[in-house]
Amino acid sequence: MIWAICKNTWNQCLASRVRLGILCLVWIAPILQNTISLCVQHVFPEALYSQSNSVALLVLIVGSGCIGSQLNDGTLSLTLSRPLTVAQYVMSKWFAVFVASSVAALSQLAAEVLVSLTRTPALINPADVLTNGAERVILCVGLSAVLILLSSLVSGVKDLAFFLVLSMVASLCVGIGQLKVDDVPAGWPQLAVSVLCPVCYHIGQAGNFILGPMVDLSSLANIPWSVVASYFAVIATFLSLAIFSLNRRELPYGAE
């Protein structure tokens, strides 16, 4: 781990006012929503704590372009001219992104708990809070690895677009996979649906898992260990691919 790279990544994130502004908006939106529900509308919100989508957004805002922008600006070559390996660089970037996004996600949870404590203290269950916090960190760690790979493949913040397109394709596959045979005309469409839908569904589910590696901790006693193994396999694979991709890449240099 190269501490200088980690600090540089955090400072780079803080230096962009646009990024910081969007991060603040995404961070505060679910808290505001719950506060308005509890204090103004006097109704219970759908969930006391924000969902994984909100956490994923935090990771995407913090980590997008963390390597790609250095490729784009041409600063990566100067960094890698120093005595450090590409593996050290990638691991430091990953560490910086997941730590920063975890801090953002956990502080968001803390704010949500504070809001709930003032209005509905009876609903606060410490076990739920701990589980939610752990799930947030798990998602931040996994999604950061995905983002690091995408960022090493494309320059600038195109990794964000890349991620969104892949997410949409995965969701579309799940949507197609949920089609029912009775919903389509008889004949070859029904045959096609019966054959393709299960395939699409599983591809979509796998895609969703790969793009947001997650382990559900809601029932701690029954955690499927295959999911845990898959989670770590996805992280290891994505980081290895990022190192491979950067090692293979020729860095932009000079005018010729």
Partner: protein
Amino acid sequence: MPENESSLTIEKSGIRIDGLCKTYKGGKVKALNELSVSIEAGEAFGIIGPNGAGKTTLFGCLLSFLRPDKGTITIDGMPPDALEVRKLVGYLPERLNFDKWMTGREFMHFHHELSGLPRDVRLSRCDELLTRVGLDPTSWTRPIKKYSRGMLQRLGFAQALVGNPKYLLLDEPASGVDPAGVLLLRRLLKELKSSGVTIILNSHQLDQVEKTCDRVAFIQQGKVNGIENLQAGPAHDTRFLVRWTGFESQIHVDLSALFARHGANLIESQPEYCIFVPSGIDTIASILKEMLTEGYAIIQLTPEENRLERYFDGESKKSPEDKSG
């Protein structure tokens, strides 16, 4: 040290480039074509050549940013991408792409830390380098985005010196620098050279290369077309042009003999001017005095193009057949 061991050390030190080939666009553009050159440790080596000759590609390969298709590079006997080599090499890029949000001092600290150098000397060492390159202390805490081209160049040069490199690769170091900066740079390069640093200088400013380097390679079409040893031969073979008015036909003087008497060499004689190489700078006055005595109404005396300029000009004008021959 035993003799065989010392010869091995000499063999291993320096930069060896052997048969380097690099192509772009699927082999359509040959940037480097069997380029071979050896750079000895402690020497100042210049690289000159026209645009697109392959100089920058060579630098990219030396820094292991680009992977050659064929051939080898060794720096102190190790490949250029070895971590040990990166500790030995400092480089100033042509494109000064730095993190604009950092301050100059933060930038230096970042590179000092990346080099794995001790934290306790970071502040003093970085400030010392910034002072050494003549960067105004009031700008050290200013964001880099507010720096001028010349300031960026000085900061980049200071960054290249972090870690006391044994090899210093400089790509157009004087680009955008003011005259005072050029003089400072020249002085710094002299100091570094005298302290044993190997300098590889890629520059279009031939006078700077001539004043700094021991040897200069002329690169064209991805090949080393020739290496000029600037240490060899007369140190001052600058040509001078003398121009006069009046009627040269009325003067019956053998100019060749006149110049020969003063140990100078007449290169070219025309009705209204001549070009000569003096044996020393002090003989010019006596030559002019004799010419005036003989009736030449001299109106101009200027030093002509320097040695490297002539070399560059000569190499550029050579046809490919001449070069292959």
